[in-house]
Symmetry: C2
Subunit: 236 residues, 2 copies
């Protein structure tokens, strides 16, 4: 009876400031908070009904993850990765995810493949509904699920962080938003998973990431920097 709320499912405590961090992160990942949007501590605190201390902790966490930029005495804002960082994020993913996909494929069960297909279907649905933000978010979740399916928690953590940053990169540098052609790549990946073909999954993942990187227009960096104030007011 002592300590009935032991570590049951990796989330025994509701997480005090983590909730705010994940809420903000989700907002960023769904492209509701565009890169460069200012995140006032008071504003966020009021929005979530929490004091500034916890908001600061959440912001620091996101800053360390690379999702927000924290400048001394100048406030926090959603990170705006420059083209170099954008390229580096995808190069890092190209270094990590193929091998991880390989591991995941070797450990994949039929139920897991079905679950992944359901994810893709949901992603497709969001895309058809015109909800690009949710589609991008679910697409990222797909990659994160692969990383977590492999036995590598440490690498999975890094991939989650990189995928989150990729969402920012996509918001800034993606060429054509209406044609999220990745769906085919994801389907092919799940096929490889279902067949437990590690080598093929690895190759597919690498090609997929290269495609994503080549789908960016990193020269457009100078063109995007305003219109943040409006979107901030409409948060939530």
């Amino acid at each position: 009876m002592l300590g009935s709320r032991q570590i049951t499912a990796a989330a025994p405590e509701p997480a005090p400031s983590e909730e705010i961090a994940v809420a903000l992160a989700r907002g960023i990942l769904e492209h509701r908070l565009p890169p460069g949007a200012r995140l006032s501590e008071d504003e966020v605190g009021e929005l979530f009904g929490a004091g500034r201390t916890v908001v600061r902790a959440a912001l620091a966490r996101l800053a360390h993850q690379g999702l927000v930029t924290l400048r001394r005495n100048r406030g926090a804002s959603v990170a705006r990765p420059d083209p170099r960082e954008a390229r580096e994020v995808f190069e890092a993913r190209a270094l990590l995810e193929p091998r991880t996909a390989h591991f995941a494929a070797r450990r994949a069960g039929p139920g897991w493949a079905a679950e992944m297909r359901a994810r893709i279907a949901e992603e497709d649905r969001a895309m058809r509904a015109g909800d690009v933000g949710t589609a991008v978010y679910l697409s990222g979740q797909f990659h994160c699920a692969i990383a977590e399916a492999a036995d590598q928690r440490t690498i999975a953590e890094m991939i989650v962080s990189l995928v989150a940053r990729s969402s920012l990169v996509i918001a800034l540098y993606w060429r054509r938003r209406d044609t999220l052609c990745e769906c085919h790549a994801h389907h092919a990946l799940v096929d490889a998973f279902a067949a437990r073909d590690g080598a093929r999954a690895e190759e597919l993942m690498h090609g997929h990431l290269v495609d994503l990187l080549s789908g960016l227009d990193l020269r457009e960096r100078e063109a995007a920097p305003r219109s943040l104030r409006d979107l901030l007011g409409g948060g939530t």
Copy 2:
């Protein structure tokens, strides 16, 4: 004239709480703060002459980096990676560092190779002086320098974090402390750098990391927890 103290060298501000974080990190990396050592907020604050707020920020930063464990209402302590995490950290390094070494070798100049040789010499000196902590720290710095020499800041950041965690792993699971045989591997790596032989550097780095992982005794996990109490009491 306006803003003469612009971003000059990536460190225009002395960093308020970051100083404490790096000081603590260095203490951990040099094995002066053993895994499991408790880090009281009041204690650290008194030690560095700072309030608890800034100490908390530093601790949160280190916790996110994986160097300290932060449990709710139970204080902070130096992280004690379990064997699984220990293995994963080195596997992640084996995934990242070889390719990074390849890039570094292609960008290496003769001056840089000389600098790296100086690092090895310093490491050797510390080892001969019996200062194992400093030797391990410098060994880690060697790997970090390679990562930073490559053009990949994002990957370099991840490697820095992994190397720091590796120091904890070494403190816990290293078999024979007196024979730090890695010096040969480091020398061979610098030779490859001087020759700008990327493929060889990549191969050497991979072998080096595999050697490091094989030099761990991950079965000892059960044998270690009895001595925590002593080190806890003797923390400083």
